[in-house]
Symmetry: none
Subunit: 128 residues, 4 copies
DNA sequence: GTGGTCTAGACCACG
DNA sequence: GTGGTCTAGACCACT
């Protein structure tokens, strides 16, 4: 199985954090549903060009968080009881559209991607 | 002088990267203008609860990038020739408004802030 | 691996600058070639009797300059695309010979080494 | 009085060290002779765009080394007993010629000035 | 009192 | 075991 994951090896953010976040996001988006089978540690490691230990840590962390279930000899699955509220496809579509608009605007203003993330981080806090 | 900087010590992102990004953003936003005097290394270190070496590194990196000028015995200034294209106040306002809207939507959908950043990162790449 | 590096702790020139210059020179001389593995941070630190942070800074600076590639968990390498024009062995030989002649002459005239460097610095500028 | 001094504020070498070396060199070259009057601290400081304290330190150091004599209210002079063996004009001429040749060669090989100094430093030691 | 260098040593991400 | 970050603190160059 193949997952739409992207990592940036030089962003400063640890690889395992990036992968964890993206998996959480995929569950949230409903692209990973309870019971779904994930790629093996080795498969994913090869696909991302990353050491297996790194992916092991991701799966271990997410199991500890109750989001994944590791069945030895079988595979890794999204937990049935994963406490992730899935976003409805329609909402997701609206969200992505909004994101795309924002990204376009930011790019036209000459911002860099970490700068935009930084701005979001800041506004997130003040809206919380 | 005091700057609106926030750091998260446990976000995985190195502190010095966070501060660098935020300073770049402030320059971009026109809140730090060429010639402006920044807080002293020690002041900012105390304010952020961080070691002064860490701030030293930030200032040094940004000097190497041509954004700051460090004058020993005097202080640290925004470079006159800082190659940062300032965002016009009007554009900035629009940007922030859009960000706030997005943040609100994401929060209402139960997303976390790193998840949203992750989504933006992904869409940024596909739009580039 | 061992590199022919010498530092003077009391020359006024920061140690990290001395090491950086010497590494650049070695690359220039073709004694360090693209792909070559450098000593580990700790090895070189011990060899030079210097703190490992100091060597870390050297490697980091040279990576920022595009001359080295640092791979965490693996080691430090001369960048494949290091923009150093290597001096041909023949030219290098001639250069060293000329240097030796000059050094001998300067010594016979009772000059000190920093004085000679100073003179060179001065003439360099007027020839530029 | 004006002296042919050049300093590089960003070379890493402390300004006072650079000035001291150049003054020693000038004495060595016979351009500063025993009894000669030097510029006042302030004059030299202004000329070099440097703080007066820096020049004060230079004069103080060189007095301690027996090379200068400071007469309060009168001025600063090259010591009569300065233990500097002057280089004969003819030798000096040959030296400078050699230096110029070397500088030209190094420049044609794409070297930087600190690299050449570094090379000289290295060869100096092995010839010593 | 400003920035700059350096140390000794702890802890982390990664292979 | 590799490089990376960060700390606490000493000492230095310079205004």
């Amino acid at each position: 199985m193949s997952l739409p994951l992207q990592i940036q090896k030089d962003s400063g953010l640890p690889v395992y954090v990036q992968v964890e976040q993206q998996l959480r996001l995929l569950m949230h988006q409903g692209e990973l549903l309870p019971g779904d089978l994930l790629p093996t540690v080795r498969e994913l490691a090869v696909e991302l060009g990353v050491n297996s230990n790194t992916i092991s840590r991701v799966y271990r962390d997410l199991q500890a968080a109750g989001l994944l279930v590791l069945r030895r000899g079988v595979g890794t699955f999204v937990a049935e009881s994963a406490g992730v509220r899935p976003i409805r496809p329609k909402d997701l579509k609206g969200l992505v559209k909004k994101v795309d608009g924002l990204v376009e605007l930011a790019q036209s203003l000459g911002m860099t991607s970490p700068e935009l993330s930084q701005l979001i981080e800041t506004r997130w806090k003040s809206n919380a």
